[in-house]
Symmetry: D2
Subunit: 118 residues, 4 copies
Amino acid sequence: MHAYGDLAERLRTFAVQRDWEQFHTPKNLAMALSGEVGELVAELQWLTPKESASVMADPEAGARVRAELADIFLYLTRLADVLGVDLLQAAHDKIADNERRYDAEAYRGSARKAPPLA
Amino acid sequence: MHAYGDLAERLRTFAVQRDWEQFHTPKNLAMALSGEVGELVAELQWLTPKESASVMADPEAGARVRAELADIFLYLTRLADVLGVDLLQAAHDKIADNERRYDAEAYRGSARKAPPLA
Amino acid sequence: MHAYGDLAERLRTFAVQRDWEQFHTPKNLAMALSGEVGELVAELQWLTPKESASVMADPEAGARVRAELADIFLYLTRLADVLGVDLLQAAHDKIADNERRYDAEAYRGSARKAPPLA
Amino acid sequence: MHAYGDLAERLRTFAVQRDWEQFHTPKNLAMALSGEVGELVAELQWLTPKESASVMADPEAGARVRAELADIFLYLTRLADVLGVDLLQAAHDKIADNERRYDAEAYRGSARKAPPLA
C-alpha cells in the first residue's frame, strides 16, 4: 500500500539523478501533462459512452488506458511538487467547496446546470 | 493529513448524492479532464519557462493554478475509480519501468533522447 | 467569401500592430491552441454523442461552440504561419495519404481498425 | 492553389465512402481534435520557446510538426462541417471582434493584459 507523498519524492529523485530538473519547468510539465491527456482521450474517442465503461475488459486497451492514467498522474504530481502545491489538500479544499456550492437536493440529476465535479 | 484513498471515496459519495453517476462515463470524464488541463495550460501559455517557475508568487495567479491542479486531480481520481484502476499503484509501476528504461548515467542531462517522466 | 490566405495575413498584421509577435513563439501558440480546444471539449463533455449533434440548435451553446471553433482556427492559422507551414497544402497531403492508406472497401464501417481521418 | 471549401468537401466524401459518418459526431470529433493537439504539444514540450521557433529546421521533427498541424486542421474542418459552421467566416468575425476590443495602442507589447488572439 503506497502513500501519495512517496510518489512525489520518487519522481524528484528520478529527475535529480538524470539532471532533468532543468527541463521540469511548470510550463514544460503542463505541456507534457496536456500531451498525456491527449493520448488518453485518443483511446476513448471512437467509443460510445457505454463502450467506454467497459474499456478495461479488453486486456490490450485496458493496459494502455491504465498506463495513460499513470502517465497523467506522474506529470500532475511532478508539476504540483515543482510548484510547491499540496495536491491532495488542494483537491480536498476544492471538493469541499463543491459540496457547499452544489446542494445535493437542488442539483440532483442535472449535469447541465453545473459542472459535476469541479 | 489526507490519504489518497479517501479522495476517491469522497468523490464517489458526491456523485451518488447528486445522482451524477449517470454522467460519469469514462468518455465524459476524460473530456472533463482534458478541459481542466486546457484551463491550466492557459494560465501558463504566455509566460516564459522561467516566469512559470514563479507563478505561485502572484497570489491571484497562484490561487487559480492551485485550483486548476485540484480540478485535474479530482477528475483523474474519479476517472480511475470508475475504471477500477488503482491510480497510485499504476503510477508506481510506471515510474519503476522508467527507472529501468532510462539509465541514470546514459540519459543524464538529455531531454531530447527520452521523455523525462513517462 | 473569404480566401484562407487572407486570414493568416490578417492575424500577422494584428500581432505586428500590438507588438505581440514576441509572444507568438510556436511553443506559446501550441499552448494557446491546446487551451482553446479544452474550452471546446468542455462545451460537449456532458452531452451524449447524439445530443452533441444538435448543439447548434441551442442559440447560446451554439454561439459559444462557433466562437471556440473560431478561436482554435485563429491559433492554428497563426501557428502554421509562424512555422512557415502551408496549412491547406499540408492538410491535402495528409488526406491524400489517408485515401491511399485506408482503402474504402476494406475499412468500410470500422472505426476501431483505423483512425477515421488522420 | 487550394480553396478552403474544397477541404471540407473532400473529408465529407472520405467519410461517406468508408461509412464513417456514424463515428463523426461532434463529441467524438472534438475528442479526436484534442488528441491531435496533444501530439503537437508533445513535439514542443521540452524545447525552449526559442528552440521551438526553429523546429522546422530539423527535417524529421519538422515533418512531424507539419503532419500534426495537418491532422488538427482535418479534424477541425470536419467538426465545423458536421456542425454546419462556416469556419472561415467565424474566424474573421472573431478577429474583427478582437481588433475592436484590443486597441492597438492601448495593448501594445502587453500579453498579460489580454489574450493575444482570441
